[in-house]
């Protein structure tokens, strides 16, 4: 067996090219005769869009054309589609206003495109954009999440009170059960909390290059995409009317996504349209400032949560009311996030029997939101793990003990939650015990005393997150409103000389697929790691795919690869049987070798592959030549990674500064293919979560002007603001996929925020503080201490 199979922390195959500057990103693609697009954007959050006079811009040097909203209509360009529909509690479908690729009539957020200038150089396009004369008539804006539906400016004519949908879940019976639980409760806990809007930040800004081949009538789009096939489907069918067989989307190396590179964006549609119209390649590169306002933002909930408990501290009912900000338009998966990716997680790791929620989704004059690392699950986990700490206070039960009293027992799986999901597996108490041990929970009092001796407050917090990854069982997703399937596909091709090329429908933008997927092949087929190539992100090369998001690539895409390898082995056995002159039923396969059972007659899979492509001695009457198999995998259920996190913070009471001193994370992501890569994913997720807890937050003023428009004002976590993490893991294999794998990309970002905030609140309880909204900045801590002291 070659080295580097499942369980080996092999170094990433892709890193040589990244670390030596040989990566190939979208903006590295250069074409003869290419043109540059510059997007002129609205400086207003809400304004009537009067005349757009492009005559001076069109006359400027190097300008080829200037496109406006009416041009899009004239050329039959559609609006940007939404991929998920939600039904309100009164049975009406969500309000789904058209999202034009170029604003018309009105602009509804700062950054909305009002004209696209196409020129021979980027500088000429930018210069000419300054010559476009636009008659804006500013309007009052609705930019605040909690008040957007309570009167004031209306953003879309078809959405009274700016309501997109008003959604109850699971339904009236559940709400009655929750009411009964509260009526009978011995204790209750309640919090009002904000899960603030955060902005994704990829190292590589969004970029695209469109080229239309008039001879073939074929459009090719290179772009920073997490899901090339989905991008092709959404842009081709709904926006560009470009048939799939005449439309290729390539997502080459992509420097980070976090969910923000899934949706089809207006810029991509515009340059495709321009390339088709002008018959020249057209490119666009977003700068950092554009990314700040146009990459889909995430989160942005205002929530009231209430937990009912019996006298023993058992959770008996959970009620959640949320206002979720959609931004100005519905991005591709925005409606899914505060609904089925959110409320279905309200059981957490616990046995709460009655759960209900209401979610009002509102339009505002802000950038549209969509998936961002965790997407709904961080919001669910945050409110739950925060209110549990509040319940611990209300009941006087220790935060560890109250969680243990309510955990779903390890022998209770499969476990049907009251919020639709069927958990397949779990062992929650064990993970918490390991985390507490690693974190030296019992030694905290001494560390707190040491901090206090130096004038600092110390707090400790835990969180026990769960999430649902591996989207998705297509049939279930379809019932819940998905407008697409969510399987994954893979093709495993032996080449004649025994090397292997894997074509996958997922996409690698930092996750290490080229290594992890190759390890699957090495492990199962016995092919050396260096002889396996993984190809992703090209609709002309990978058969089909739904892409990478929601921590789905290994459990869904990897399972498709596994299934394709099963087919390879099945066919290989037939070829081997012929070559070894044995019955196929007597052929066994292990570690790259076919063996006639009970004999020493063997043949390697490389020899079998050669015979398949040079079929001089081959059962041609029964079997096609070639060794190249394809499989689709559609999971029967989601999978459910879980974790226990322990965070310890120090607070400087004079300044309010918070520092994360220790962070212990014990994750269970099922079987692990590459432990090093998994640890890297956890590190990234935790840093992201600490960023949301303490630093990040998109701020708009009442007119919809973004006040956090650059990294001078928007704080990202840095090496000196996150601690060295202490990681551990348990392994509870997922029974629902052949690899036993669960997702890992998001759990850190899901679990870290409540762990950090619980720790901060623990540090401040002695000062009378019981909640601080994120981001927990130094001023917010100082103000909380001031107001608690004053009252």
């Amino acid at each position: 067996m070659p080295e580097g199979g499942i369980g080996a922390s092999v170094k990433r195959k892709e890193d040589f090219r990244f670390l030596t500057g040989r990566g190939s990103y979208t903006d590295d693609e250069v074409r003869a005769g290419q043109l540059y697009a510059h997007m002129l954007r609205s400086p207003h959050g809400h304004a009537e869009l009067g005349s757009v006079d492009t005559s001076k811009a069109e006359a400027a040097p190097g300008v080829v054309c200037v496109l406006t909203g009416p041009d899009a209509d004239a050329d039959g360009i559609g609006g940007l589609p939404c991929g998920w529909g939600i039904t309100s509690k009164d049975g009406t479908p969500m309000v789904e206003p058209k999202w034009p690729v170029i604003g018309q009539g009105k602009v509804r957020y700062v950054g909305e495109i009002v004209a696209a200038v196409i020129a021979e150089s980027a500088e000429q396009a930018a210069d000419a954009a300054e010559l476009v004369e636009i008659d804006y008539r500013p309007l009052d804006a609705a930019a605040v999440t909690e008040t957007a539906h309570t009167g004031g400016a209306q953003i879309h004519d078809e959405a009274p009170d700016n309501i997109c949908f008003d959604w109850d879940f699971p339904g009236p019976e559940a709400a009655e059960a929750v009411d009964a639980a509260f009526a009978a409760a011995a204790h209750t806990a309640r919090l009002e909390l904000v899960n603030q809007r955060i902005i994704p930040h990829s190292m590589e800004p969004r970029a695209a290059l469109a080229e239309y081949d008039k001879g073939e009538e074929k459009l090719t789009l290179h772009c920073t995409a997490q899901a090339a096939h989905a991008m092709r489907l959404l842009l081709g069918a709904f926006v560009l009317n470009q048939p799939e067989h005449k439309f290729r989307v390539v997502a080459p190396d992509v420097g980070g996504g976090f969910g923000s590179k899934v949706a089809p964006y207006a810029e991509y549609a515009i340059i495709c349209w321009a390339s088709r119209k002008l018959e020249r390649p057209v490119r666009w590169l977003g700068d950092r400032a554009e990314c700040f306002v146009t990459d889909a933002h995430g989160r942005d909930h205002v929530t009231e949560v209430e937990l009912a408990l019996d006298a023993d501290g058992k959770f008996t009912g959970l009620r959640v009311n949320t206002v979720a900000n959609m931004g100005a338009y519905l991005s591709a998966f925005a409606p899914l996030i505060p609904t089925f990716l959110y409320a279905t997680l309200f059981a957490g790791q616990y046995t709460t029997p009655a759960i209900c929620c209401n979610v009002k989704a509102v339009f505002t004059n802000t950038s549209p939101v969509d998936a961002l690392r965790g997407a709904g699950r961080p919001e669910a986990t945050y409110l739950l793990e925060r209110v549990i700490d509040e319940a611990a206070q209300a009941t006087g039960i220790d935060p560890v003990e109250i969680r243990k009293r309510n955990f779903i027992a390890a022998d209770a799986f499969p476990y049907q939650t009251p919020v639709a999901l069927l958990y397949d597996s779990g062992a929650y108490e064990r993970a918490l015990d390991i985390a507490l041990e690693k974190a030296d929970w019992n030694g905290f009092a001494a560390r707190r005393s040491a901090s206090e001796a130096e004038g600092r407050l110390r707090g400790i917090g835990i969180a026990a997150p769960i999430e649902a990854t591996g989207a998705a069982p297509s049939a279930i997703a379809g019932q819940l409103g998905a407008r697409a399937g969510l399987y994954e596909s893979a093709q495993v091709r032996f080449n004649a000389t025994g090397t292997v090329t894997v074509f996958a429908g997922t996409h690698n933008h930092g996750q290490g697929h080229e290594t992890t997927f190759a390890q699957l092949v090495t492990d199962k087929l016995g092919v050396p790691l260096e002889n396996v190539e993984v190809v992703e992100g090209d609709t002309d090369r990978a058969v089909m795919g739904m892409g990478t998001y929601g921590s789905r690539s290994l459990s869904v895409g990897g399972s498709a690869i596994d299934r394709a390898m099963d087919k390879i082995i099945d066919k290989g056995k037939k070829i081997a049987a012929h070559l070894l002159e044995a019955s196929v039923d007597d052929i066994e396969f292990d570690s790259g070798t076919f063996t006639v059972s009970g004999t020493d007659r063997t043949i390697s899979i490389g020899e079998v592959a050669f015979a398949a492509y040079v079929p001089h001695n081959y059962p041609l009457e029964e079997l096609e030549p070639g060794l190249d198999e394809q499989a689709f995998f559609d999971p029967v259920n989601f999978n459910f990674p879980f974790a226990s996190y322990v965070c310890e913070v120090e607070v400087d009471p004079e300044t309010g500064s918070v520092s994360v001193e220790r962070f212990t994370a014990v994750d269970d992501v099922g079987n692990i293919v590459n432990p090093m890569i998994v640890e890297g994913q956890v590190h990234g997720g935790l840093a992201h979560g600490i960023g949301q807890a303490l630093m990040e937050g998109a701020v708009f003023d009442e007119n919809g002007q973004p006040l956090t428009g650059s990294l001078m004002d928007y704080t990202l976590p840095r090496a000196d603001t996150v601690p060295s993490f202490d990681l551990g893991h348990t392994v509870t294999p997922c029974p629902m996929n052949p690899l036993g794998a669960k997702g890992v990309g998001e759990i850190g970002a899901i679990g870290a925020p409540p762990a950090v905030v619980n720790a901060v609140v623990d540090a401040l309880r002695s000062h009378g503080v019981n909640h601080i909204d994120m981001p927990v900045t130094s001023e917010s801590v100082w103000q909380a201490i001031q107001s608690a002291t004053a009252s």
Binding site: T655, D713, T715, L716, T721, T777, E779, W782
Partner: protein, 265 residues
């Protein structure tokens, strides 16, 4: 970025002449502010006159009880200078806390004080140490140099050639950084100088300022407790998404107290 003419000056006179002769000329020192501003199309100078090749604007010397730093000295040089560290360690540390390594290796002391960003670190040292700013025309007392937000006493065509910092008996700079930009939300420079204690505050207001009440208290007893209860008014302080005026006022007291403690070692 808009097009501009790039000129590399060979002498102070050459630089001043080039700016004077341009339609809208600007000196280019480290370029840490003007270049990003141009890149964002927020400034459109016709000419940038680079001072990097001008003789006599670099170098650090200590003599006669003063540290003299050339206008084109990079922050990293000041931070790494053994002479500065020996004479005014607080100044070396301040320079090492500006921006990030890239900024410290490009940014200059002359550029920083001429720009007078309200959250920059160097103005606190210039005022806190009672330094003298040398230009191609005159010497300007540090107390008179900074006149308002992004405003200085410099006249058109006037160029910072160096700054002379009197060596104090003790000094310290304490910065509470903006977590995003790492500029000072509040930075307080305290020094025991031959002319008495000085307390200079950057970041908190539109321009660096001194706190007379703290200076008087420190004149009696140069100790943290002397300033610990001195509150400053927040009427004229900055207020933004990072810190309210009230919070900044509070931080001035905390940072002053900690700076005095550090100065006392």
């Amino acid at each position: 970025m808009y097009d501009f003419n790039y000129r590399k000056a060979s002498s102070v006179e050459d630089a001043v002449g080039a700016v004077a002769g341009a339609e809208d000329g600007r000196f280019l020192a480290g370029g840490m502010t003007i270049i990003p501003t141009i890149k964002q199309r927020l400034a459109k100078p016709s000419d940038l006159v680079d001072l990097a090749g001008v003789d006599g604007l670099t170098g650090i010397s200590v003599s006669g009880g003063a540290v003299d730093i050339g206008g084109m000295c990079r922050h990293a040089e000041v931070n790494a200078s053994g002479e500065v560290a020996a004479a005014i360690p607080a100044l070396a540390r301040l320079a090492g806390g500006i921006g990030d390594p890239q900024v410290r290796n490009r940014g200059t002391i002359g550029g920083s004080i001429a720009n007078n960003d309200p959250a920059a670190d160097y103005p606190a040292a210039v005022v806190g140490l009672g330094a003298t700013v040398r230009t191609n025309r005159r010497e300007i007392a540090g107390d008179d140099f900074f006149t308002g937000m992004f405003e200085t006493a410099l006249e058109p065509g006037e160029l910072v050639t160096g700054v002379s910092f009197p060596v104090p008996s003790k000094a310290a700079y304490m910065k509470f950084p903006n977590p995003a930009s790492r500029y000072a939300i509040v930075g307080v420079f305290v020094a025991a100088t031959s002319g008495g204690p000085r307390v200079a505050v950057t970041g908190a207001g539109p321009c660096v300022f001194r706190v007379a009440a703290m200076e008087q208290a420190l004149a009696g007893n140069f100790a943290p407790e002397s300033v610990a209860d001195i509150k400053i008014g927040d009427d004229d302080l900055n207020s933004d998404i990072h810190a309210s005026a009230e919070y900044r006022a509070h931080l001035v007291t905390v940072m002053a107290k900690r700076a005095v403690a550090q100065a006392n070692g």
